[in-house]
Amino acid sequence: MRFLIQRILFYLFTAWAAITINFFIPRLIPGDPVKSLLARFQGQMSSDAIDSLYVLFGLDKNASLWSQYVDYWKQLFHGDLGLSFTAFPSPVSEVISDALPWTVALVGITTVISFLIGTGVGVVAGWRRGSWIDGLLPATTFLSSIPYFWLGLLAIYLLAGPDSFFPSSGGYGTDVVPYPDWPFISSAIQHSLLPALTILISSVSGWILSMRNMMVTVAAEDYITVAHAKGLSDRRVALSYAARNALLPNISGFALALGFIVGGTLLVEIVFSYPGLGFLLFRAVGAKDYPLMQGIFLVITISVLVANLIADIAYLMLDPRTRKEG
């Protein structure tokens, strides 16, 4: 328990540091957001409006850096991340919360499926070393070595098209409104199939390979021989003895992968013009939308930290050796 509290304190500190850096970075960049916004409006703004924009972005020149910092924190606690330039005057939090569900649903579900399939196949391939399923390994390794954007483009080129079942871009059809009813959901699922498939193909072999190799390592352990000698069924030895131990390194890898769901899918979403966070970040960078970038970075940072914490907790639960006495 003490260990857990230590970890949480550590992550709180990291979060504080990340948020502070996040606060300073835009202020260190030459030029400021208001100027770039002015450029968008072609200078057709009164000086009053410009002043109020500075106040709005928390960049009013009168305030000291310290009071800006304090205000930044106050706003954060209210969930206020400032205003987006590109979607002006929508607040960043709203823009992000529109994009986040798309990414979480697409990449989140795919990551979980990829992990489950990969680990399952890895267990079998490692346990039945030399069987046909083990022989498939080089093929999956080949697939995972294909650069992702190329795989995505290839999938669009081969499978998507005007008459195809698979749409080539977007999160849902133009003929439905984003409302949680069946036509919308089915359209969303249809649009997510191709990106999901390509993510799956490129990520599953990593899980297979690491699980398979851990299984092979663990299978040589003495306690596996003991389990066989005890007359336990092959299934029980494979699952409760071998896979249970081989899973441990993969679990932490999985938790880290969860952290990258939010941020690590830039290419997928760009290739498929998917309305998720990665695509949003891509557009924000293109449009120099600092508040939006800041907000997205914050979300990514926090999700990586939370995933790390989950990895720690999962490890505590699964590996008794990491638990401390008392």
Partner: protein
């Protein structure tokens, strides 16, 4: 004492197949009698552990039993060949009839399961009708038997010392009351004090429960003390077998002599300590004839060309022992 419980007949174990095969165990004939402690000694690579893995069919690939029989005599019913059992029969046979305590005391327990889980899963596999309550009670009883308090049931292996872990393994080996317990260097990883304690406990348990033991070690001094009979292995073959006391006092094979004079006796007159010159043979390129002859101080004409067969020697006590050496012409072969 003379009723056999396990008869190994002409057992051959190879690593690999075909021409590349390395013959790790060759033509081993050995009989374990009821209630007996049979010691199996030899240098590293002499094939003693391979023999144990082979007769329980636990060999990991590329190890294969390439010939022979392992006849097991159950308490009731007809004897059968362990090597001929189906997978299902083998699963039922394992641990219930022949349990094994392995070399690595530290790594024999699954690190992620509690001691209790690992004790009771044997019961769940072999006696599925047993209630979980009585399984736990039995596990606690076994721990008590090997001198570990029952509150360690919920401990994980890493919370126990090496000695405790090996005692848990011994308790686990006895949980189904097998007739044969194979000990493969059970105390090698432990300090000498713990060694003695655990072996003493084991012998006491054997007297109480009446199982037979095959005790594999390279430490002949331990065997002299704890076993009834000793078989010496060299280069995959049994080279001598005799009562422990007989072997200690009057070994016939020069290799046994060498083993015996390479450790000091605690009591008795001072003896010159001498190792065995040379190193164990390479199993890939065995010397012709007697595989010990290049290292043997007493080698003479026939040794280099002909393999001596294991048989009863022409000594006065020849009826109770066997040896494979040209110095002791065989009266009657075994197996």
């Amino acid at each position: 004492m003379n009723e056999p419980v396990l008869e190994i007949k002409n057992l051959n174990v190879d690593y690999g197949l075909g021409d590349q095969a390395v013959h790790a165990v060759r033509d081993v004939n050995l009989t374990l009698h009821r209630g007996e402690v049979l010691g199996l000694a030899g240098e590293s690579g002499s094939g003693k552990s391979t023999l144990a893995y082979g007769l329980t069919r636990l060999l990991a690939p590329p190890g294969v039993v390439s010939g022979g029989e392992v006849i097991y005599h159950p308490e009731q019913g007809e004897p059968y060949d362990v090597l001929g059992l189906t997978d299902r029969q083998l699963q039922a046979f394992r641990w219930a009839e022949t349990a094994i305590v392995f070399q690595g005391a530290m790594n024999s327990l699954n690190p992620v399961h509690k001691i209790s889980t690992q004790l009771t899963d044997v019961l769940a596999a072999h006696e599925p009708q047993m209630s979980s309550h009585s399984r736990n009670a039995r596990a606690r009883e076994m721990l008590k038997l090997v001198g570990i308090s029952a509150d360690r049931m919920d401990a994980y292996p890493h919370q126990l010392s090496g000695g405790m872990r090996q005692r848990v393994m011994i308790g686990m080996a006895l949980i189904l009351q097998p007739q044969v317990v194979i000990m493969d260097e059970p105390t090698t990883a432990l300090d000498v004090v713990m060694q003695r304690q655990i072996l003493g406990q084991l012998i006491e348990l054997r007297e109480r429960l009446g199982f037979s033991v095959i005790f594999i070690t390279h430490d002949l001094s331990l065997l002299v003390e704890f076993s009834n009979r000793i078989a010496i292995m060299y280069g995959g073959r049994i080279v001598e077998e005799a009562q422990a006391a007989t072997l200690y006092k009057d070994s016939l094979h020069p290799y046994s002599n060498g083993l015996l004079s390479s450790f000091p006796a605690l009591r008795g007159p001072r003896r010159e300590l001498a190792g065995i010159p040379g190193s164990p043979p390479d199993l890939k390129g065995m010397p012709s004839g007697c595989s010990f002859h290049p290292r043997c101080p007493k080698a003479f004409d026939p040794c280099a060309d002909n393999i001596p067969v294991l048989g009863r020697p022409d000594t006065p006590d020849g009826a109770t022992r066997t040896v494979a050496c040209w110095l002791h012409p065989v009266q009657q072969t075994v197996g």
